[in-house]
């Protein structure tokens, strides 16, 4: 069945009430019956929940084959915990038929690819998938199609009971002996623990893995002891150098800066750029650099930003400290400046994934957002964005908060170079739709700006400000004139991943790629 972004969704996926994507805000006003976990009572006073090993913790919570394990990605590419826990579950306890439901997965989790090939890990639910795992899933080695959700779609699915977490694992930079966890104060600090919060509330069992045990009570706790079954102390939960970089530097690449300046120009041309506006930006080169130019316009107009959300890094903290933004609300931190600032700098707060982006709750931050600046691997002439699959059809990306912020914000700006090497970023049809075109408003490239025809109000803003813009078709033609028109990718029938829209409908599927052989 074809959905609202023109993608053919196979019928076998449309069961148990699953629908195809129908357009933005389709689920608005509908009711949701929240799922509740089945949790163990700990009435008898406990001195400590510390157990000696991950295996012991798993045994204590009754880990079995066929269970779903949840993880969060605040330790980013420095994470050791997913691999440690899976190794223990599969190699020590001999479990199989495992589903990993992670907020995101990356290159750090290459060893999991082996468990997929062995058939021990049979399901993956995540926002991001990269590296070897992306390759084996793309090659059809996972028994069931991977389910890809946005950061807001995941807490929605958990709350709706579409994902039932048997065991949630919290990788905690600090914990006390009963499981009050924080993202700071240890040796592997990550700042916010926002993505772990929903998991801990909705899982049957919660295991905390930490490498820094601190005195009780570890306050204010991001994940609270009231939800935790066991605490394991290990030597190291991650590589600090890869958890948070020293400081996210604003790009000096002239191409990035040129695009970033145009992003700021577009923002400054709209009616929402006024005292107290709200803003989110990605940490990619041109997205982050937009901060720099935006500050200039804020100074010129004598206005301040009311609040900023998202994954946070140094340049935004800098603005907060300078008093140019009122509050920063943070679901994840990308560099040490942000890690060291959360809950320390006045106005810098932590939030959960649900509070950040869940479309089914009653007041996610993204819904109050004026502007979001985002990157793209590909964007097509329908303004549909792909941030999941490479243009070769292999899984190597993450929707993250992209679809949530795009849908919630008043003005969503995509910034990307027109071509990367020989890949046309602006193309006729994206490989996979991860953010539907009806949520995307403006495209800024190094070759020009295009505005979604669905937004005549924005077209007028740009015209009034004298900002030149062209049609997205022109940009696509320019891209193809540089790199040549690519051949269509060849696919097998097998679905290797299902891309859920944030509201739970099916936005797209990724099939198994048929690699090109020149000897045919």
């Amino acid at each position: 069945m074809k959905n609202a972004v023109g993608r053919e969704i196979p019928d076998f996926l449309l069961k148990d009430g699953k629908e195809v994507y129908q357009g933005k805000n389709y689920m608005d006003g509908k009711y949701l019956k929240k799922a509740s976990p089945c949790t163990r009572r700990y009435e008898k006073p406990q001195e400590s929940k510390i157990v000696s090993s991950i295996a012991e913790a798993l045994c204590q919570v009754g880990a079995k084959s066929g269970m779903t394990f949840s993880f969060h990605h605040h330790l980013r590419n420095g994470d050791y915990v997913v691999n440690m826990v899976m190794k223990s579950a599969i190699e020590e306890l001999g479990l199989d038929d495992i589903t990993i439901a992670a907020t995101s997965l990356g290159d750090a989790h290459d060893p999991i690819a082996e468990y997929i090939e062995q058939g021990k890990v049979v399901g993956i639910q995540t926002s991001g998938i990269r590296g070897k795992m992306g390759e084996v899933v793309s090659a059809g080695k996972l028994k069931t199609p991977a389910i890809i959700r946005s950061h807001g779609g995941r807490p929605r699915a958990i709350e709706a009971g579409e994902v039932h977490i048997d065991i949630a694992v919290v990788a905690a930079p600090t914990s006390d002996c009963v499981g009050n966890c924080r993202g700071i104060g240890g040796k592997s600090n990550c700042g916010s623990l926002g993505y772990a919060m929903t998991d801990a509330k909705y899982a049957d069992h919660v295991i905390v893995v930490t490498d820094c045990l601190v005195d009780f009570p570890n306050m204010p706790a991001s994940v609270e002891a009231i939800d935790v079954d066991a605490v394991v102390v290990v030597d190291s939960i991650g590589d600090p150098r890869k958890i948070a970089s020293a400081a996210a530097r604003i790009s000096q690449n002239p191409r990035d800066l040129m695009m970033a300046e145009n992003v700021a120009k577009v923002i400054a041309s709209t009616p929402w750029f006024k005292e107290g506006f709200s803003f989110q930006t990605g940490v990619g080169g041109p997205s982050l650099a937009a901060n720099l130019f935006l500050e200039k316009y804020m100074d010129e107009r004598g206005i301040k930003m009311g609040w900023a959300i998202g994954g946070i890094c140094g340049p935004m903290v800098e603005l907060l400290k300078k008093g140019k933004v009122g509050k920063v609300i943070d679901v994840q931190d990308f560099d040490l400046d942000a890690v060291n600032s959360i809950n320390q700098t006045p106005g810098h707060y932590e939030m959960s994934a649900s509070q950040y982006a869940n479309p089914a709750n009653k007041g996610a931050f993204v819904n109050k957002l004026d502007f979001v600046v985002l990157a793209a691997l590909e964007i097509d002439t329908g303004f549909n964005v792909n941030v999941l699959t490479g243009s070769d059809g292999v899984l190597r990306g993450a929707p993250g908060g992209h679809p949530d912020t795009a849908a919630g914000s008043k003005c969503c700006i995509i910034v990307t170079p027109l071509v990367r090497g020989r890949m046309a970023t602006v193309c006729e049809h994206v490989v996979t739709v991860t953010t539907p075109g009806d949520c995307v408003d403006v495209l800024v490239t190094d070759y020009g700006i295009a505005v979604n025809p669905l937004r005549p109000d924005l077209i007028e803003c740009l015209d009034n400000a004298g900002i030149p813009h062209v049609s997205i078709e022109e940009l696509k033609e320019k891209a193809y004139s540089i790199v040549g028109r690519p051949d269509d990718l060849q696919w097998e029938d097998d679905v290797v991943a299902v891309l859920e829209a944030r509201d739970g409908t099916i936005l797209d599927v990724v099939r198994k790629i048929k690699p090109l052989s020149l000897n045919d």
Binding site: Q252, P254, R255, L257, M258, G421, D446, Y447, S481, I482
Partner: protein, 304 residues
Amino acid sequence: MIPRPKPERFRLRRTMMFMNAQKPGLIKDAYIYGVDSIMLDLEDAVAENQKDSARFSLYHALKTIDYGDTEVIVRINGLDTPHWQEDIRVCVAGGADGIRIAKCESAQDVKTVEEHVLAAEREFGVEEGRTLLMAALESPKGILNAYEICAASDRMFGVAISGGDFRKCMQTKFQPDGVDMLAARGQMLIAARAAGIQCFDTVFTDLDDMAGFETEVRQNKAMGFDGKSLINPKQIRLVHEIFAPTEKEVRQAEAMVSAFREASAAGIGVFTVNGKMVDIAFIPGAERTLKLAKACGMYEGDLV
């Protein structure tokens, strides 16, 4: 194949950006930054054993890439190398707008290059005289011979000083106030103006010292340079800002040119603008200001 229009000998050249002709990722779209001229380099940026390869890259870049209104100049290897003759052939065959003669020291150097350019134009069926020339002065001898070099050919549109080599010859180093090259810049400017061609300053190599760069560009503008050679796109904007005329200059120039057009239509030679007497001698300068203003987005009229 992208046909390029016949190059204009005198056009706006505030910024000329060097790019290694051997680097495909760089040269494919150097024009997007809004530079006036790009300078594809076959000389210092290309290793001795890659000169051949760079020419093949250059040829296809010139033939394939649509540089639009951006001027495309090629810096060829010095006349003391085995490379310059083939460099000239590929520039002319590819249809470059102009050639920059490295290490030029005499009018004879210009004439030698011109002969080979003419021969190449005939060999490749390119309109004779199409390919423009500019000279880079890199030695005391070049500076002393600046006027004869500037006046050596009708193809010459400009002259530039190359600071690195020149400072070495003079046994000096970069000075923030420019005193190290003050005399040379002055002499070259005088020669260029006397010969009626344009004059460009050398590159500023410390990309992190934007304040030092700004000081130098302001001095360039004050001394009367037409533009500056650059090594990075991030330097472009500042040069364009500093070389832009003031709002007042633009309005004055607009008033002068339009008053002149009206007066000459009525057969009047001398007239007044805002109370000041103006004659035809002011008009080329005013027109230059308007052209500059148009390029800077400050003037949208149709007088130029």
